[in-house]
């Protein structure tokens, strides 16, 4: 594995420890620096409040020239998250650049939670409810918030 990716991931980790963004934590697996576990706390004053959502980030040796693949491990109900937990987010695809580190990736996902984009849905049901029946959307989100505690 390229030492460049490894070194960069160690530096990402240090920064995440020294200047942790609010409501975010993450760390590489002890035996595999390319695989990270992270937790995003649901942002306050959103339906996701109080949720503790687990994610897995899989890097490869092309990092930071290529983005990691990121997915929610916790159950998620969100217009831009697929049923398998994968995300539909531009910076993880065609707007990736090496200026993003792990802290920035997780912060972007946290913002996505309270700022979904129902017009390019990964979960059509969530997108429709978000648009047309906000009350039911909130109820469904609260369900996954509760299940995130298990």
């Amino acid at each position: 594995m390229s030492t460049e990716a490894r070194r960069r991931l160690m530096r990402d980790f240090k920064r995440l420890q020294n200047e942790p963004p609010e409501g975010i934590s993450g760390a590489p697996c002890p035996d595999n620096i390319l695989l990270w576990n992270a937790v995003i706390f649901g942002p306050a004053e959103t339906p996701f409040e109080d949720g503790t959502f687990k994610l897995a980030l899989q890097f490869d040796e092309n990092y930071p020239n290529k983005p990691p693949s990121v997915k929610f491990i916790s159950k998620m109900f969100h217009p831009n998250v697929y049923a398998n937990g994968e995300l539909c987010l531009d910076i993880l695809q065609n707007r990736w650049s090496p200026t993003y580190d792990v802290a920035a990736i997780l912060t972007s996902i946290q913002s996505l939670l309270h700022d979904p984009n129902p017009n390019s849905p990964a979960n059509a049901e969530a997108a429709n409810l978000y648009r047309e029946n906000r009350k039911e959307y909130i109820r469904r989100v609260k369900e996954i918030v509760e299940s995130s505690w298990e």
């Binding site: 695809q93 065609n94 707007r95 390019s120």
Partner: protein, 379 residues
């Protein structure tokens, strides 16, 4: 810089692989132009234009090669990625409904049908993109220099306007060096021409001045808010190449080989991108008025400057030449027949460091709508 002046495909098609890329790039350029009026985001409207835009969007994504295998294909396949909320307000600026940005809310009646259409559409696009990608990759990142007659031959079946302009150009320029049309051509052409100029000058003052300018960019990046962790490693690669010239370990063929090597070449391109972005951020008050209404410079940079394969615009050229103190002249050659001459635009830095860049002759680039190559002036 407009795609309006782009020559038609037939006009410039002569079997040379670069032509197709020019078209692609011309459209990329249109798309990334900050000065474009906002367009309706409705997918049904103007679908042919949108097609091209999405295509370009996707081909950007794909030109990097390994990207596809590595980003999960399911994601790429069936949906449009959402703009990250951090960059969300810029999504209004970008007119295409491609993977990137959020279409405006529209009435939901035709939503599902429209979505299915989009999926089919997407599949066709991906096929086209793979063909375009193959074509682009036939051109090396930076090519061997060629006689300017080759450029003329490219238009033999095509437009008089171009041929006449090339004749004029050939009076003072004898060679052209092509760069791959992958959206990075400005940065790569600039980078190669700069390194080559330093190498061939064989002048220690020029080299030291360039090295000082390069070292100073670290301060610029930091003051513009970049974390050293994101650029340190890449900076080291670029500096090492400059120092290798100083140590006398580079000749012109070695330099070409380095710029043809994906890793090093793309590191240099990306570092030039981030210098450009840092400069634009530092002087945001000066440059923000050139952006689309209400676009914020940080968001603009994260979408159009820091990201590989995104075309460079006028302000990017200004920013990079000023940040590195490197004078550049760009020959603008369009199919417009109102001018017989090829127009040269001069981008000179504000302050030439004493005794330094005064002797660095300007780099000369050739711009055809959407694409940059390197030109060589007769000695």
């Amino acid at each position: 810089m407009g795609g309006g002046e782009e020559p038609s495909r037939e006009e410039i098609h002569d079997g040379s692989t670069t032509n197709q890329e020019e078209n692609t790039n011309a459209q990329q350029n249109v798309e990334s132009s900050p000065n474009l009026p906002e367009k309706p985001v409705n997918a049904e409207e103007d679908s042919s234009k949108e097609t091209k835009k999405i295509l370009d969007e996707k081909s950007n994504e794909n030109t990097e090669g390994t990207n596809v295998e590595q980003a999960q294909p399911e994601i790429v396949d069936n949906a449009q990625a959402v703009s990250a909320p951090v960059t969300e307000t810029t999504s209004v600026v970008n007119p295409s409904p491609g993977p990137v940005e959020a279409p405006k809310p529209e009435d939901t009646a035709n939503k599902d049908a429209a979505h299915e259409d989009q999926v089919k559409f997407q599949q066709n696009l991906e096929y086209e993109i793979s063909i375009k990608k193959e074509e682009a990759e036939r051109t090396p990142l930076v090519c061997i220099s060629e006689d300017i007659q080759k450029l003329y031959q490219e238009y033999e079946q095509g437009s008089d306007v171009y041929r006449n302009k090339i004749m004029k150009l050939a009076e003072r320029h004898n060679k052209i060096r092509r760069c791959r049309g992958d959206g990075n051509c400005f940065y790569r052409a600039f980078g190669f021409a700069w390194f080559e100029r330093i190498l061939l000058s064989n002048n220690l003052t020029i080299l030291r001045t360039a090295l000082d300018s390069l070292i100073a960019t670290k301060t610029l990046l930091k003051s513009s808010g970049y974390q050293p962790l994101v650029y340190d490693d890449i900076y080291d690669v670029v500096e090492e190449q400059m120092k290798a010239i100083e140590r006398g370990e580079r000749d012109d063929s070695m330099l070409l080989a380095i710029f043809q090597t994906d890793d090093i070449s793309n590191h240099i391109v990306w570092y030039l991108r981030v210098i450009t972005a840092a400069y634009l951020k530092k002087y945001r008050q000066e440059y923000e008025p050139f952006l689309e209404f209400e676009t914020e410079m940080d968001q603009y940079c994260s979408k159009y400057v820091e990201v590989m394969d995104q075309e460079a615009d006028h302000i990017h050229v200004i920013a990079l030449t000023k940040a590195l103190n490197v004078p550049v002249e760009i020959a603008y050659m369009s199919g417009s027949d109102t001018m017989e001459q090829v127009n040269f635009h001069e981008f000179y830095p504000d302050n030439e460091p004493a005794g330094g860049n005064i002797t660095l002759k300007p780099l000369v680039l050739l711009y055809r709508p959407g694409h940059y190559d390197i030109l060589y002036r007769k000695e």
